[in-house]
């Protein structure tokens, strides 16, 4: 359906997007995840036709959209701060896209009611949008984008301004609405929890490129690089040198890792040690470390060693205590 080929864009003479290629399939929700300033919002605006790429193509079902202006693309966009029209009521906001299609009045009315029902806002139909709460405004924005039945829905950090609890609630709602409607969607966020909660597929954006493209499980279980693992907060990332034969030399010593094909000898690699893969042992045979910091989180102790390695354990350790442990390391290449 939607296809992006080699999109380039500079911002204030610095490359922002330097060759983005991906596609979105029917009914799929794709999440663009990246730090702020990584160009994800710009990418959305390029897809919407609000900005032009310096290079590259945006295709829909194989047809180039370059000459198609925003208002003819039929891509819905939900803005970060909702961008509701302050001079229109809730119903008029939702009806706007339908009016632009010159639909008959009765049909507009029916579809406005239906859209508002979809987002559980039926009783707000004649309210002014300026008197709504943030969450309610967000739902109006969603209803407004859904009502004209767009071919593609895009979300630009739609929940960024809301508090955690409301965000989780709306996220669930949004997911079920998206699945029910079957509209393909692109969801931009910097919040990985949000991304994992809503995405069928996650694209990680870094340095103007896609650092990884995969399902949430793939991304979390097999991060493509040290940056991805670090950005997702998967665990301890340490530098290492590939010695071949499943061995990596690191500051902790030579570690045995899962086989990684194609790595050159002596090449520097990133090694991921997830906190759950650090095991305390009592016989003193493993790696040695001294406890530098202990704090209690949720239901376990978070222990940080002097070499920077952290892990969780139910056992309360003393500061300065000497311990022995083993690790399971993953080489990320």
């Amino acid at each position: 359906m939607l296809e992006l080929i080699d999109i380039h864009k500079t911002y204030e003479n610095k490359p922002l997007l330097s060759g983005i290629t991906f596609s979105v399939q029917a009914g799929e929700t794709v999440c663009l995840l990246g730090a702020s300033g990584s160009g994800k919002s710009t990418l959305l605006r390029i897809i919407a036709g609000l900005e032009e790429p310096e290079n590259g193509q945006v295709l829909w079902n194989g047809a180039d959209l370059e000459s198609v202006p925003t208002h003819q693309r039929k891509f819905g966009l939900v803005f970060q701060d909702y961008a509701l029209f302050p001079h229109l009521t809730v119903a008029e906001n939702v009806a706007f896209g339908l009016k632009m299609q010159n639909l008959p009045q009765d049909e507009i009315k029916l579809r406005v009611v239906a859209s508002l029902k979809q987002v559980n806002l039926s009783e707000f139909i004649n309210r002014s949008v300026t008197e709504l709460s943030g969450g309610e405004q967000q739902r109006v924005a969603l209803a407004r984008a859904l009502a004209p039945r767009p071919r593609l829905l895009m979300f630009d950090e739609p929940l960024g301004a809301l508090d955690r609890a409301l965000r989780d609630h709306l996220l669930d709602e949004l997911r079920s609405i998206l699945h029910a409607s079957g509209v393909p969607a692109i969801y931009v966020t910097h919040d990985q929890e949000e991304a994992f909660a809503i995405a069928d597929r996650i694209l990680l954006l870094h340095d103007g490129l896609i650092a990884q493209d995969g399902t949430p499980a793939e991304v979390a279980l097999h991060p493509a690089s040290g940056w991805v693992a670090n950005f997702l907060g998967l665990g301890n990332i340490i530098e290492g040198k590939w010695l071949g034969d499943r061995r990596v030399e690191t500051s902790l010593g030579v570690l045995e890792v899962d086989d990684k094909t194609g790595a050159d000898m002596k090449k520097s690699v990133a090694v991921l040690i997830r906190p759950e893969n650090v095991t305390l042992i009592s016989n003193g045979n493993g790696l040695k470390g001294r406890v530098a910091d202990v704090s209690f989180q949720k239901n376990e102790f978070r222990v940080t060693l002097e070499n920077g390695l952290y892990f969780y354990t139910p056992k309360e350790l003393e500061m300065g205590e000497e311990i022995s442990y083993t690790v399971e390391a993953e080489c990320l290449g």
Partner: protein
């Protein structure tokens, strides 16, 4: 026990009552002077006008007929002026709100200067450019060897309209331009993603969002055009009688004070109605949702059409706003035609004669004194105006700075004088102060008092936000660091008060220097002010009189411009402009 409590109760009540009384008396004391002043020099004269005009003997068919004719013309010229102002102002507002270009700040300031310039200066400026002895006509005459000026400008409706546009375009630029600048472009983008093309975005989103500011600017411009006096008297001539001009003519030339009062009363009612309308519209604009930081909307012109627009509009504004202001001082030092009675060939070239002539007391001249006396009078009046308006303004502003219930009621009273025109004020003074015990008409004090009344609302509005902004916690902090109350006051209050007072004083000074409406009615032949002198010079024939008008107007323009620049410098950041 019970007794004791009772005793304590009465004690508390007594203390409370005493505190209340002292609070009230200190508050009232603050208000006594300004309220007394406004009462005597605004409400009393206004009341006199109203009693005069509602006398049944005034309401004759003839008078009503004249009044309605004048009213109609006033509406007509004000509507036309407003329309033309919007015609120039809207593209200008768009220019300032959407594009970055070199010299933008300067150009913006340039368009704002006329608004504060005295009407006589603006009239003289246009006269120097397009009048019968102006650059344009004299140039054409010498090129084509014509006997008479080919362009008839002074005395036409066009002159009035042009001067009004010159004056008020800045209002449109500021009010509509600011609204446009703060408009959330995401709303337009949202509309585009929902299928609206450019035309429909403009029609359904941009225009409705701008409507309150468009209305506000329109009403404000209309109000200023409606009450305009000097421009119409000097550029239009007696053929174009608006309510203001006709009031002046009836009061001074026909000596028909009742009819003048009737005209004034009609004028007052109209202004009141428009002011109320304006306030309601402004109240609406305030609920703008999430204004955007300006830089989101600003960009350099990129496409060809945009470049042409920026260059074309910029040049038009430069020409329109610079030419009259440039023509005036240049004309004041240029000899371009023979003085009356001179037979010899004209010596073209630079001359300082018009200035030196101001110091000569010619027999048979317009004045019994050298014209430069007018400048001295003006400076004297302006000094008194500063003194009076600070004297009245300070207590009122300090009471308003920490408003209580009392201030809530009194605040609008202080703003009301803004609604009355200067001519109305002058007329009120004439009617009120011509008999004992207030027989002041012959005294030179009346003019500075009238000027104070005109300047006072602005002075209070300048002082009050400054006094409100004094950070009291900083004063506490200074005390806690060991500063005596006086030292603390000196460190915290004084810098703010000093700055605001200087701004307010400059404002009062500049207003007084250029004030024409009230002065025109109250002036005595032997005490002319600069604007009055310019008016008299301009209405007399002869190249020398004309040149002196130019010289005098140039002096006034220079003084006023210095004043305007000073006020701009001293302006508290973030205060509202209109």
């Amino acid at each position: 026990m019970l007794l004791y409590t009772n005793h304590k109760d009465t004690e508390t009540r007594r203390i409370f009552l005493r505190a209340f009384a002292s609070w009230l008396s200190s508050r009232l004391l603050l208000w006594l002077l300004p309220l007394g002043f406004i009462g005597l020099f605004f409400f009393y004269p206004l009341g006199r006008i109203l009693t005069y005009s509602f006398d049944t003997s005034v309401l004759t068919a003839e008078n009503l007929h004249l009044t309605s004719n004048v009213l109609l013309f006033t509406f007509y010229q004000a509507s036309l002026s407003t329309l033309l102002t919007l015609l120039l102002g809207l593209p200008a507002a768009y220019l300032f709100a959407r594009f970055e270009f070199p010299g933008k700040t300067l150009l913006r300031a340039l368009t704002a200067v006329p608004f504060m310039l005295p009407t006589v200066v603006v009239a003289a400026g246009f006269n120097a450019l397009l009048g019968p002895r102006g650059w344009f006509n004299l140039g054409l005459m010498s090129i084509f060897g014509l006997e008479n000026p080919p362009l008839q400008f002074v005395g036409t409706l066009g002159a009035i309209l042009m001067a009004h546009v010159f004056y008020n375009t800045t209002i449109v630029i500021r009010v509509v331009g600011n609204a446009l600048l703060q408009l959330d472009t995401r709303l337009m983008n949202a509309a585009r993603t929902l299928g609206a093309d450019n035309r429909r975005v403009w029609w359904h989103i941009t225009l409705p969002l701008l409507r309150p500011s468009l209305l506000a600017a329109g009403i404000l411009v209309f109000l200023f055009d409606f009450t305009s006096f000097g421009v119409i008297l000097l550029l239009g001539g007696p053929g174009f009688a608006t309510l203001e001009v006709e009031t002046y003519i009836q009061a001074l030339q026909m000596l028909n004070l009742p009819l003048a009062s009737l005209l004034s009363a009609v004028q007052l009612l109209c202004t009141l109605a428009f002011s109320v309308l304006y306030t309601r519209v402004v109240a609406k604009t305030r609920i703008q949702v999430s204004p955007r930081p300006a830089q989101y909307n600003l960009r350099r012109a990129q496409k060809w059409g945009e470049k042409i627009f920026v260059i074309g509009m910029g040049s038009l504004l430069i020409l329109f706003f610079i030419l009259p202001m440039l023509a005036l001082p240049l004309r004041s030092v240029s000899r371009l035609e023979a003085a009356r009675g001179e037979r010899a060939d004209v010596q073209y070239g630079l001359t300082g004669d018009y200035y030196s002539e101001l110091f000569v007391n010619r027999r048979g001249s317009l004045f019994y004194v050298p014209p430069i006396r007018a400048a001295l009078n003006s400076l004297g009046y302006a000094g008194l105006t500063v003194l009076f308006s600070l004297l009245m303004g300070f207590p009122a502003a300090s009471a308003l700075a920490r408003p209580g219930k009392l201030e809530h009621w009194l605040d609008p009273l202080l703003i009301l004088p803004l609604g009355a025109s200067a001519v109305t004020l002058g007329l009120g003074f004439i009617i009120s102060f011509n008999q004992p015990p207030l027989r002041l008409l012959a005294s030179p004090w009346l003019i500075p008092l009238a000027h104070t009344m005109v300047a006072l609302p602005f002075v209070i509005r300048t002082l009050q936000p400054a006094l409100t902004s004094i950070p009291e916690r900083l004063r506490d902090a200074a005390s806690s660091l060991g500063a005596s109350p006086f030292r603390a006051w000196l460190a915290v209050d004084w810098p703010i008060i000093w700055r605001a007072s200087l701004a307010a004083a400059t404002f009062a000074f500049t207003v007084s220097l250029g004030e024409f409406g009230a002065t025109a009615l109250l002036t005595r032949p032997e005490y002319p002010t600069i604007p009055i002198a310019i008016y008299r010079f301009l209405s007399q024939p002869g190249g020398l009189n004309y040149g002196q008008a130019m010289a005098m107007a140039t002096i006034l323009m220079t003084l006023a411009t210095i004043g305007i620049l000073m006020i701009e410098r001293l302006r508290l950041p973030g205060t509202r402009e209109f």
